[in-house]
């Protein structure tokens, strides 16, 4: 008798399965914090400082308390809040720890800082009450520039840091001065990048309710990091961690802005504890968001690079200033941008001699925090500017110069000069594919044609980058915080009916993590995608996850999901083997059915195995405990670098400065792709945000520290009309983690600054040192070069 094995079940991973979130998110049935209504709920509006830097001399809340619908007003000195401070901690030498009060105490440090909070029946009444809070200020000298000379600092932002420097660190490898002395050419650049921020569709939102009888606090929060929020709240509120439940339901975008625990969040929880049984809701509006949610990317780099005659990059010397804003962002610290900048500046290029001093400088502006791509859109711009300057000095093709210096597969693992270990090496493969897709020769010919025959000048820009994703315990050690974000947990539970519920520590702000986790578990366990349901975002449901940042969740949460799925698969097969008296090594679990090697027909279903495990203990073989579930943690120890290359062809109208994007190509290495449409969506969305930062988005303060771009009328977000058709390609070099994936959430943001600025230089022969690149800036640059 001959038997044929059935065709292998198609895997869920690698296919564009229907997203589990789509039914509710695409039909308006999402459940966001903003939608949440609870009995006896009241609404909060914050009174915000109109001044950038001032002593608070008095706060009079009497008129506010008499406003219709207002039930309470809190200030920084209220007993419920007065002793609490957010203090971002790091063990880095020289880091200056500072306090951030939930509501300002004694002085305000940026325009928009929350000074008081009004609780009322609805948000209208709360805003009416907020107008009735009378705060008197005694102005101090504001400082908005992070690279001002020390003598310009009259009134330090924090007394602990008279020079406003909260953190400074020097990265060193080799001997930069000696290498520069031997260089055939040395180039200098000085560049600045523009402050902008995340701007998710749903701004920050929270509902806090405290039950005094059992001292339990529930905090519904549109956060990317519910477990970090719970841990930090436990310390700040002096509650046992188990008494706090943080729930992040559907969240309308995050981009890093919601990976922060904000003073408003803490104030909301403290006020809820002072008003037990009353749920307090705060939904941030766009004006508040632009004014007081974390900003990012306002950096300055003073750079010097040395190249050998053949184009070899010999040395990079850099000084960097990152505007940290008024407070050291909690809990990440003011080191978040400068440490990333110093660690990743040299990107995908081999380099032995490196010296880079980075600083996080506090100013009277909204605090800086994590934003998709943290620091690297700026560093890629800085590094690619050096490469372009080097190519011009050497009279070498700029792409050939880059190619000459790329980290190659043979170099892997490559220890970068910052001692981060690059495991990718796919840069040249990405470059080759990107150049072919883009059609470089055709664009060069078009450029020549236009130069000869008139027509708008055309330029080609390029950005090559290495995105550090899925940082394990070693890679996340840099900031020396009180926690290492290297691991996540996942629980896979087979229900009595054989269906699967996954309790994952990941969170989702729209990027489809329920789908991705279900795909991974379905394949690891041996069930269909449809049989898997995923629960995320509730600290009382799933064991642990650090959350969404550093493009970590597919790598780390996915790794945990895979390991948990495999683990429970082993348990199920062992039970099946015992039940069917078959050798376990001959059994396989596919599509929810258990097969014996060589047999086409299943010997037992997973549903029956589960029924025994939960309901029929009489059938449980000797040595088996009831139940069928398992929990695993995963930590990749290091991380997975994701290579990427973007190329753009842009044209410029000399009469107006108008910028037209004619072609945009991105080729990235996402490792093994779990869901092709989600991956392409992440890349497209991050490129769109990158183009926004390169050409449109700019948070501008005047010298007095007033935000002059306070609404979306002046803070320009790109719409679909501004984003060109994107051509996205992939090379796939699986990473050494359980699913082979490389993080893909942020890489797209890294190159657009470099591409746009590089295209201007290529088209017009002028170096772009300052971002954003706008029609006004292009036109202004052109006035210097055309008669």
């Amino acid at each position: 008798m001959t038997t044929t094995s059935p065709a292998p079940e198609p895997t869920a991973s690698g296919t564009a399965v229907r997203r589990k979130e789509d039914a509710r998110l695409l039909t308006g049935r999402g459940r966001y914090v903003s939608d949440l209504t609870l009995p006896r709920m009241r609404h909060v509006a914050f009174v915000r400082s109109p001044l950038a830097h001032a002593h608070i001399t008095s706060v009079d809340v009497s008129e506010a308390l008499e406003t219709d619908g207002v039930s309470a007003v809190f200030t920084g000195d209220h007993p419920a809040l007065a002793s609490v401070s957010l203090r971002a901690q790091s063990g880095l030498p020289g880091y200056v720890e500072t306090d951030q009060p939930p509501l300002a105490r004694g002085k305000v440090r940026f325009a928009g800082e929350a000074v008081a909070a009004v609780v009322a029946d609805d948000r209208y009444h709360a805003e009416d009450g907020a107008e009735g809070v009378d705060v008197e200020y005694e102005p101090l000298s504001p400082q908005v520039c992070a690279w001002a000379s020390p003598e310009e600092i009259t009134d330090p932002v924090h007394d602990e840091a008279p020079d406003n420097v909260l953190l400074s660190r020097t990265f060193r490898a080799g001997d930069v001065e000696a290498a520069l002395a031997e260089a055939a050419v040395v180039v200098d650049r000085e560049v600045t990048t523009n402050r902008h921020g995340g701007n998710p569709i749903e701004c920050r939102a929270g509902v806090a309710r405290y039950e005094i009888a059992d001292r339990k606090l529930t905090f519904w929060s549109g956060t990317q990091v519910p477990y970090i929020v719970r841990t930090q709240l436990a310390g700040l509120l002096d509650l046992p961690e188990g008494n706090i439940r943080v729930i992040a339901p559907d969240v309308g975008g995050g981009f890093g802005v919601k990976a922060v625990l904000y003073p408003e969040d803490v104030a909301l929880c403290l006020m809820a504890m002072a008003m037990p049984g009353v749920a307090l809701k705060w939904v941030e509006d766009r004006v508040e968001h632009l004014l007081s949610a974390t900003h990012a990317r306002e950096h300055r780099y003073v750079l010097r690079a040395g190249f050998a005659a053949d184009g070899e990059l010999l040395a990079v010397k850099a000084d960097a200033w990152c505007n940290a804003g008024a407070y050291s962002v909690y809990p990440w610290t003011a080191g978040i941008e400068p440490l990333m900048a110093g660690g990743l500046l040299t990107g995908p290029y081999k380099l032995a001699h490196y010296e880079c001093t980075v600083r996080g400088v506090t100013t009277n502006t909204s605090p800086s925090g994590p934003y998709r791509g943290v620091a690297r859109p700026s560093t890629v711009f800085a590094m690619e500017a050096l490469m372009d300057s080097g190519a011009r000095a050497l009279e070498m093709d700029p792409i050939a110069l880059r190619r000459r210096n790329l980290i190659l597969p043979a170099d892997i693992p490559y220890t970068m000069p910052s001692r981060l270990v690059d495991d990718s090496g796919a840069y040249e493969a990405c470059l080759d594919q990107a150049l072919e897709t883009f059609g470089l020769e055709g664009w060069r010919a078009e450029q020549q044609r236009r130069r000869a025959g008139g027509g708008k000048p055309l330029g080609i820009g390029i950005g090559i980058y290495n995105e550090l994703t899925g940082l394990g315990r070693a890679a996340s050690a840099g900031p020396r915080m009180a926690f290492r974000t290297g691991h996540d947990a996942c629980t896979v539970r087979i229900n009595p009916d054989g269906a699967v519920t996954v309790f994952s520590g990941v969170t989702s702000q729209g990027q489809g993590l329920e789908t991705t986790m279900a795909q991974v578990v379905a394949d690891a366990l041996g069930v269909t995608y449809d049989a898997v349901e995923v629960r995320i975002g509730d600290t009382d449901e799933s064991l642990w996850g650090f959350g969404a940042f550093s493009s970590r969740q597919a790598v780390i949460g996915g790794g945990a999901a895979h390991l948990a799925g495999e683990h429970v698969r082993g348990k199920a097969l062992a039970l099946a083997a015992a039940l069917k008296e078959a050798p376990v090594e001959d059994l396989d679990l596919r599509g929810g059915e258990v097969y014996m090697a060589g047999q086409a027909k299943s010997i037992i279903s997973l549903a029956e195995v589960a029924r025994v495990a939960y309901l029929q203990s009489d059938r449980l073989p000797e040595g088996f405990e009831p139940g069928l579930e398992g929990t695993k943690f995963y930590d990749p120890i290091r991380g997975a670098f994701a290579a990427g290359v973007q190329l753009g062809a842009l044209e410029f109208d000399p009469a107006t400065g108008e910028i037209g994007i004619l072609s945009w190509v991105c080729v990235e290495d996402a490792g093994r792709i779990v869901h092709p449409v989600i991956v392409d969506g992440q890349i497209a969305g991050s490129i769109a945000q990158g183009i926004g930062g390169a050409m449109y988005e700019h948070l501008v303060y005047d010298e007095a520290g007033n935000l002059t771009t306070g609404t979306l009328l002046d803070y320009l977000m790109p719409t679909s009309g501004e984003i060109p058709e994107l051509t996205i390609g992939h090379v796939s070099t699986p990473a050494a983690n359980p699913t082979g994936v490389r993080g893909v959430g942020e890489g797209g943001t890294l190159a657009p600054n470099a591409v746009v600025a590089g295209a201007v230089a290529d088209a017009l022969g002028v170096e772009v040192d300052d971002l954003p690149v706008t029609p006004a800036s292009v036109w202004t640059l052109l006035q210097g070069v055309t008669p």
């Binding site: 805003e127 107008e131 449109y696 036109w779």
Partner: protein, 287 residues
């Protein structure tokens, strides 16, 4: 971003609206499409005591050509302006207003009464030498475009007056050009060029508190050669003169010098388009 308290009155007719406004003194405000007013209320930059909603007033949504002039009821929405074919310049300009959601709510009279110097419709009204019919506590009156716009966001309208109808002569030729940072944004600088008979008018938006009317160097510019080609030199002369004649301010989206350069370019484009519009392209107007 929640409105401060206000009383709401749904007007049943023009007289009712005017009477309610009159009773409110300078504390009343008309709510039409709400596309500018509601954001201003939400930001608490304005706090009228009474909002008079005219959306249910009958008879304010008509659109008809009488003689050589398009007559528009106050409540005609931008979307309708963009879709009509009796005044092609108006249709083109309306397509540059905001986005679909804004165009489906915003009204022609609302935009004119708001008088944003960067908005499209005030420039079109002035370029067509149009006028508005205004109802007030006393008699109704007619206000010409040149008198309507007094300053940035300021008109000649009294506190208790409302625009009931817009009169927009249909030009014999036209050109429209706008430079904005993004699709749907207010113009950084825009230009509208019209020709009525042998007279051309050029209006520039975004360079002053009110739409800026350029006086071309002569009234019968010979913009076309005998063979019908656009006279680039003549167009450039007009554009240069227009750019010399404006004193724009600097702001986040462009310096004064950049705005002047933009003025030159958008005027050049609009006048070139005007010159390139043969008379026969003019949409026939029913008698």
């Amino acid at each position: 971003m929640k409105c401060p308290p206000f009383d709401y009155h749904r007007a049943t007719g023009v007289a009712d609206a005017v009477a309610t406004l009159d009773a409110a003194g300078d504390e009343g405000k008309i709510l039409a499409g709400g596309q500018s007013l509601v954001p201003v209320l939400a930001l608490r930059m304005a706090r009228p005591a009474v909002l008079v909603d005219i959306n249910h007033v009958p008879g304010l949504s008509s659109l008809e050509v009488r003689g050589d002039t398009l007559h528009l009821g106050a409540l005609v929405r931008h979307l309708t302006l963009a879709e009509q074919d009796q005044h092609p310049l108006l249709a083109e300009a309306a397509r540059w207003i905001g986005h679909t959601a804004i165009r489906s709510r915003g009204t022609v009279a609302g935009s004119l009464a708001h008088a944003d110097p960067s908005a499209e419709l005030p420039s079109v009204l002035l370029a067509c030498d149009g006028a508005v019919q205004v109802a007030g506590p006393g008699a109704t009156r007619r206000v010409g475009a040149a008198d309507l716009f007094v300053g940035a966001l300021q008109t000649d309208l009294g506190d208790a007056e409302m625009i009931t109808e817009v009169e927009l002569p249909v030009p014999d030729g036209w050109g429209f050009s706008e430079f904005a940072r993004r699709h749907g944004d207010f113009a950084v600088v825009s230009a509208v060029a019209t020709r009525f008979g042998d007279r051309i008018r050029v209006v520039i938006g975004g360079v002053a508190g009110v739409p800026h009317l350029v006086s071309p160097p002569d009234s019968t510019p010979d913009l076309l050669t005998v063979s019908g080609a656009v006279q680039d030199d003549r167009v450039a002369e007009i554009a240069d003169a227009a750019a010399r004649g404006v004193e724009p301010a600097s702001d986040l989206h462009g310096s004064a010098d950049h705005r002047r350069a933009l003025t030159r370019e958008v005027v050049r484009r609009a006048v070139a388009q005007l010159a390139g519009t043969p008379t026969s392209d003019r949409t026939p107007v029913p008698a």
